[in-house]
């Protein structure tokens, strides 16, 4: 069977409703969300964060963000002996001995008095409110924490390892060198010193506004030579590293809401992105096949089986294959010209006895031995018996370029073979002192897996199995980038040192330290360039990736949040295989089943579920030690005879075989107990693969995992008492983890567990209990109420649309100056909430309004999902939004060449377009600027005579939008290039015909008609709907969730409470009906309506109640376009394309085909030529070439000249053809 076998973990499909603790109640928040800050009335408010609060609290001046307390920088120095093999991993720290049970017991006693410590666990049978673990989890992990953890790991651990691996710069002169001693990253600050020689700290908001980079200095301690002396220096800056927001380096880390407000930051903002040159950039999570693991694939058609390993070390990334050809096994690798028979490869590595080979690969199994026979025979037929013979066989087949060793010595044939086998093949298995034994065993294991797959097709691995994947995060990518640029930096400095030292005479003693600071631009620009372009091009590591970073979408709060959980996969989008796109059963709980885009990237772009965490590297040496202590026998002491005996299991740590054990189950059990006791990192996973008969221990980074409640003896370890303590705030999630109540499982270990979804499903065999079923959904899908009642594609549609909804973006939304920002004027939190909504904070930054909907037909303007809007609702502010746009201008002010300046237009220039321009050449906030009115009057110097006053040419920046806009803000600042001016313009829009709306169930529609309130139907309480929706939207879409949302919403409205529509739970329909009945409504949610037009009662009852509606960003005003005549493209003289260029409306090929088919020649002629690019020209009838002015330049006469009209594009084609030595001729005929 594969390593992704059918789940041994029978996670039953979630059984909704019944047993879940209802999450209703406790909902007392008000219906209308407090709009964070209302845009509108006073548009020109400069950011004044929390001025009043700080004023009130103390008499001292308001705290400024510019002087945050200086945090001690990380400075624990790793051991100098950090060897290469282990330097990926953080140092082994002594595990904290935790009190575990005693700790709880003490807490219980203090909370409940002298109750015996043991009793508490048995006190309650069922766990109430175990979902409360989720918010506790989200406090410490989850959503964006993986980005932060990964970045922190890079900054604190990995960067030091990289430094120690490249610690010495040795110039050619042996007396001059620089040695790096330690490295640390400071706090974010402006590069260079201030005008009064001070360091200016940077806040993210300043960076956004001033288009600068939020970065911190990378500082090193060095030891270096000055002439004959050795000197030391501390905190030498070698470059600036962009800082991830809310990481350990960031000012925003662990700040209170008030502190954040002072810095102009939103407390709801997730962080985890970078601010580079003023734009917010996210490094998306990248999905890859795991490195250093064996993956077996089969090609059924060619009858080939291949085992593949991607070895990833610090020097190189190489792939090694063991493949079959004609049922013989070969070793394939890039450094060999042709596949090498496996037996020859093994013999070359010193495994000369056939018997030993057979034992290592096949063990006792005769089936395997038989299948391996041909491979053995082949080696014999090649006359390769001894190690020397085999090395020579391999040596002549090593591809060119490997004939020399590191010092440049020429190698003999068998040395070449030895070198490439040691260093290139399976590079991650290190060969020390020419001990090839570990590599032989690894290769033999690969061969064994291939044989197994040959004999049994089901032993092939599943590449799409989530357990075989690793997620690469920002930290890993940055560490690669840093390693690459640091090497470049060091070699540049070495070159400079050599150059300076080679100079005959030096005026001053050579100080190599100054070189370090001189060249810090190399490191700084490498980071800034890579993050701002998204191109990760690292020649050293064969990494060539584009589109790694994306601009953080600030369309809505949810869009930004959704971006932080997004995973992009490396598969090409064009391939027509469904495997990578399909929903994998192993994605359960790890990746959101609903949130994926439609179309091209469907299934390739995924999103993390709510409770997932991505691991970072954990050192493996202590794990190996633990394994040996638990009775694993070292593999290097084994012969093949002992490896594959029945009942014996191999033990692998991070893909590397360390030994065997005969007591697999008890070994795994003990190991897990140690992990639960906190003796190893909680992210170490261990599981048995019964098909491979291997115990895998994994501690590498990039595994997806999630927490689960441990079940022992059919009892959940977490009890109601624990939850009570949690709710009282006495304990945190870490307490649960440390005392072995909850643990993290990765996908592979999940497969080795029996997990109960609900407590009543626990059987004696159950090992774990889900914390909460709704966490299988992600943050974006979690917004949907009652998603378990919807057809699944509808939830997927909503995931895409939720990101386009206009709403509140952040508490600091009005201080931001973004290129484009949509804000809703009066956002409301939904009447029907979900737990996820509360957890991610969507109720505080909502994107939509609770509209009262009548599901009925009205007029004919509601067909095809069109909505009818109530004019009075629109007047009251339903769907009203702001559109804020930015115009940026940098005044270039270099001393040579062009210089810009702002000026008041000199006399005579001013016309109506300059109505609001002040003396400083800028408009002021509050002004209404019409299309093509001037906003910034800039003047550029055209020529500057030596010493004289340059001539100034006006180059104003005007309003390019077709509608009048209000000026919201005018900001002036400065950058390195010069003065920076940003003008923020604002429009307030009310819904109009054609604007797009959507409910939270993938049901979008455009506004078809806006009806006066008096014509709308009303119920007997006089309530008039805001929206009328056509009932035809329901049958085919099957969005039952929407109907229940209406019912629950209505019950909420009449009872004055918010209702819950959490997935697999939420308020029950029965309860909702009862509430309706109690308040005198029909239990079904239907009302009797009276027509506003006729005044008669409608003949049927109408489903009537509130549904949360989102206004989507697609608005008619941005799209409406028509042109009678207008600009033409320069080259073809055809009308331009696109609304932004006032383009024409294209009569395309298909339309043309229709006209041809219909035979409307004159219409065709008019559309395609006369109204487009008609061109009067002259053609010579005799030679067929174009002429001019009654003259044919070829015939040198004007005899055959005829004038005619052709499309300019045709004339252009003729001339271009002539330009490439092809002579087209026009042959003329008389028209009839």
């Amino acid at each position: 069977m594969s390593s992704g076998p059918p789940p041994a973990k029978p996670v039953p499909p979630p059984k909704p409703v019944r047993k879940v603790p209802t999450d209703a109640g406790g909902a007392t928040a008000s219906r209308v969300a407090r709009p964070p800050q209302r845009p509108g009335a006073i548009p020109s408010r400069p950011p004044q964060p929390s001025a009043s609060s700080s004023k009130a609290s103390s008499s001292k001046a308001p705290q400024k963000p510019t002087k945050p307390p200086i945090r001690p920088v990380v400075s624990s120095r790793p051991k100098a002996s950090g060897s290469l093999a282990t330097r990926r991993f953080p140092e082994d720290t002594k595990p904290e001995v935790n009190a575990g049970e005693e700790e709880w017991a003490a807490l219980m006693k203090s909370a409940y008095g002298p109750m015996s410590g043991e009793d508490y666990a048995k006190a309650a049978k069922t766990v109430q409110d175990k979902w409360e673990l989720l918010p506790a989890f989200l406090k410490v992990k989850g959503l964006v924490k993986q980005h932060l953890d990964s970045y922190n790991y890079f900054v604190q651990v990995d960067i030091k390892h990289i430094l120690h691996a490249n610690a010495l710069i040795q110039s050619e002169n042996p007396n001059h060198w620089i040695r790096y001693l330690d490295i640390r990253v400071g706090f974010p600050q402006r590069p260079g010193l201030d005008y009064n020689q001070q360091i200016t700290p940077l806040t993210p908001m300043t960076c956004r506004l001033t288009d600068s980079t939020y970065s911190a200095p990378i500082m090193v301690d060095i030891e270096y030579t000055v002439e004959q002396n050795i000197k030391r220096a501390r905190n030498v800056v070698i470059g600036y590293l962009p800082v991830m927001l809310r990481s350990d380096l960031c000012w925003l880390k662990n700040k209170s809401e008030a502190d954040l407000a002072v810095m102009g930051e939103c407390p709801m903002d997730p962080g985890g992105y970078f601010v580079v040159k003023g734009t917010e950039k996210v490094i998306l999570v990248q999905e890859q096949l795991s490195k250093n693991r064996i993956i077996v694939m089969a090609d059924q058609k060619k009858d080939e089986v291949t085992a593949e390993v991607t070895s990833s070390t610090h020097d190189r990334v190489v792939k090694t294959y063991v493949m079959t050809k004609a049922r013989r096994l070969y070793l394939r690798h890039n450094s060999f010209k042709e596949p090498i028979p496996i037996v020859i490869a093994l013999k070359a590595m010193g495994l000369t006895s056939d018997k030993e080979i057979i034992q290592l690969i096949c063990g006792f199994d005769e089936q395997y031995q038989e299948a391996f026979g041909p491979s053995l025979e082949e080696a014999a037929s090649k006359n390769a018996f001894t190690q020397k013979q085999c090395l020579e066989y391999v040596g002549v087949r090593v591809s060119p370029g490997q004939e020399r060793d590191d010092s440049g010595m020429r190698l003999s044939v068998d040395q070449i073979a030895m070198q490439s086998l040691a260093a290139m093949v399976l590079a991650h298995v290190k060969v020390r002192n020419l001990n090839f034994r570990p590599k032989c065993i690894y290769l033999a294991t690969m061969a064994r897996r291939v044989l197994a797959a040959m004999l049994d097709v089901s032993m092939v691995d599943d590449r799409d199995y989530v357990g075989n994947k690793r997620l690469e995060l920002a930290g890993q990518l940055l560490s690669l980038l840093f390693e690459d640029t640091f090497k470049t930096y060091n070699s540049t400095i070495k070159r400079q040192m050599d150059m300076m030292l080679n100079r005959r005479s030096r005026a001053t003693p050579f100080d190599s330290r100054s070189l370090l600071e001189q060249h810090m631009g190399i490191v700084t620009t490498a980071f800034v360039r890579s993050i701002s372009t998204g191109n990760w091009s690292l020649k050293r590591f064969h990494v060539e990736r584009a589109g790694v970073t994306h601009v953080l979408s600030r369309l809505s709060f949810i869009a930004a949040l959704g971006m932080m959980t997004r995973i992009s996969s490396q598969f090409e989008k064009t391939r027509k295989v469904s495997g990578p796109r399909a929903l994998q059963p192993s994605q359960w709980g790890m990746l959101c089943p609903s949130d994926t885009p439609e179309g091209e990237a469907c299934g390739l772009v995924k999103n993390l579920a709510l409770m997932t965490h991505i691991t970072t590297d954990v050192p493996e040496d202590p794990l190996i030690r633990i394994a040996f202590m638990l009775g694993v026998q070292d593999v290097s002491l084994m012969t093949g005879n002992e490896l594959y005996r029945p009942g014996v299991h191999l033990v692998q740590v991070n893909g590397f075989i360390i030994g065997v054990t005969a007591k697999a189950k008890s070994f795994v059990r003990t190991f897990r107990k140690l992990r639960r006791a906190g003796r190893t990192s909680e992210f170490v996973s261990i599981y048995i693969n019964h098909h491979h008969r291997v115990i895998y221990i994994a501690s590498d980074g990039g595994r997806i995992c999630r927490p689960m409640i441990i079940v022992e003896n059919g009892q959940s370890r977490v009890t109601s008492e624990h939850m009570r303590l949690l709710k009282q705030g006495k304990v945190s999630f870490d307490h649960f983890l440390r005392s072995g109540l909850v643990e993290y499982l990765d996908v592979n270990e999940e497969n080795d567990s029996l997990i109960a979804c609900y407590e009543h499903e626990i059987t004696p065999d159950t090992t774990h209990l889900e914390i909460e079923p709704f966490t299988i959904l992600g943050a974006v899908a979690g917004l949907i109420p009652y998603p378990h009642h919807n057809q699944s594609p509808r939830n997927t549609y909503q995931c895409a649309m939720g990101k386009q909804a206009i709403g509140a973006i952040a508490y600091n939304q009005l201080n931001r100056i973004d290129t484009l920002l949509y804000l809703m004027t009066y956002p409301q939190q939904p009447m029907v909430k979900t737990k996820t909504i509360e957890l991610v904070g969507y109720d505080k930054l909502p994107a939509g309004q609770n509209a009262t909907v009548a599901v009925m037909s009205f007029s004919g303007y509601d067909i095809e999902d069109a909505l009818i809007l109530n004019r009075a609702s629109v007047d009251r502010g339903f769907g009203r939004c702001h559109v804020l746009k930015k115009t940026t201008m940098v005044l270039k002010s270099n001393n040579t060449g062009a210089t810009d300046r702002l000026a008041f237009p000199s006399t005579g220039d001013t016309d109506n377009r300059y109505m609001f321009v002040d003396k400083d050449g800028l408009v002021a906030p509050g002004a209404i600027v019409r299309p093509s009115d001037v906003m910034i009057h800039r003047e550029s110097a055209i020529s500057s005579p030596a010493g004289g006053e340059p001539e100034w040419k006006p180059t104003p920046v005007s309003n390019k939008l077709p509608e009048p806009v209000q000026i919201d803000k005018v900001m002036v600042s400065e950058t390195d290039e010069g003065q920076l001016i940003k003008v923020l313009t604002r429009q307030t829009r009310r819904p109009e015909l054609g604007d797009k709306f959507s409910s939270r169930h993938g049901q979008k529609g455009v506004c078809g008609l806006i009806v006066p309130q008096e014509d709308m139907p009303f119920n007997d309480e006089g309530i008039v709907p805001d929206i009328i929706m056509n009932p035809h939207g329901f049958p085919s879409r099957m969005t039952v969730g929407k109907m229940i949302e209406l019912l629950a919403g209505k019950a909420g409205v009449v009872s004055g409470a918010l209702q819950y529509g959490t997935a697999f739970g939420g308020s029950k329909v029965v309860d909702m009906s009862q509430i309706l009945i109690d308040h005198g409504f029909s239990y079904g949610g239907k009302d009797m309506l009276t027509s506003g037009v006729t005044g008669q009662s409608l003949e049927c009852y109408v489903y009537f109640g509130p549904i949360y509606y989102q206004k989507l960003k697609h608005m008619v005003m941005d799209k409406m376009h028509a042109r009678p005549t207008g600009p033409r493209a320069n080259l073809t003289r055809q009308p331009t394309e696109g609304r932004s260029k006032d383009g024409g409306l294209r009569l395309g090929e298909m339309e043309r085909d229709c006209l041809i088919g219909y035979g409307a020649t004159q219409l065709l002629l008019e559309r395609l030529m006369i109204s487009s690019d008609a061109f009067d020209t002259q053609v010579c009838e005799t030679c067929g070439m174009l002429g001019y002015a009654g003259w044919c330049p070829k015939c040198k006469s004007g005899k055959g000249i005829v004038s005619l009209t052709i499309p300019y594009a045709a004339k252009l084609l003729i001339q271009e053809l002539m330009g490439m030595n092809i002579m087209p001729k026009l042959c003329l005929e008389d028209t009839v």
Partner: protein, 71 residues
């Protein structure tokens, strides 16, 4: 800066009705402390009080006619 001065500087203060003309020298408002700074050409853009580099232009002095929204 002192508390007292800070409270006086309301960035959104409306101009007096009898002051329709824009002043010759425009005083920009600091994005951090709210102090007013008059800028000269070719001068570094800094708040005089706190050295902050982001300044905002105050609201216009002219009379703005607001066009009613239609539909």
């Amino acid at each position: 800066m002192s508390q007292q001065r800070y409270s006086q500087q309301n960035p959104n203060s409306m101009p007096n009705r009898d002051q329709p003309k824009a002043p010759e020298q425009i005083e920009y408002i600091c994005g951090d402390c709210g102090a007013k700074t008059a800028l000269k050409a070719n001068e570094a853009i800094r708040c005089k009080e706190c050295g902050h580099r982001v300044l905002y232009k105050p609201r216009t002095h002219r009379i703005v006619r607001i066009y009613p929204l239609e539909n």
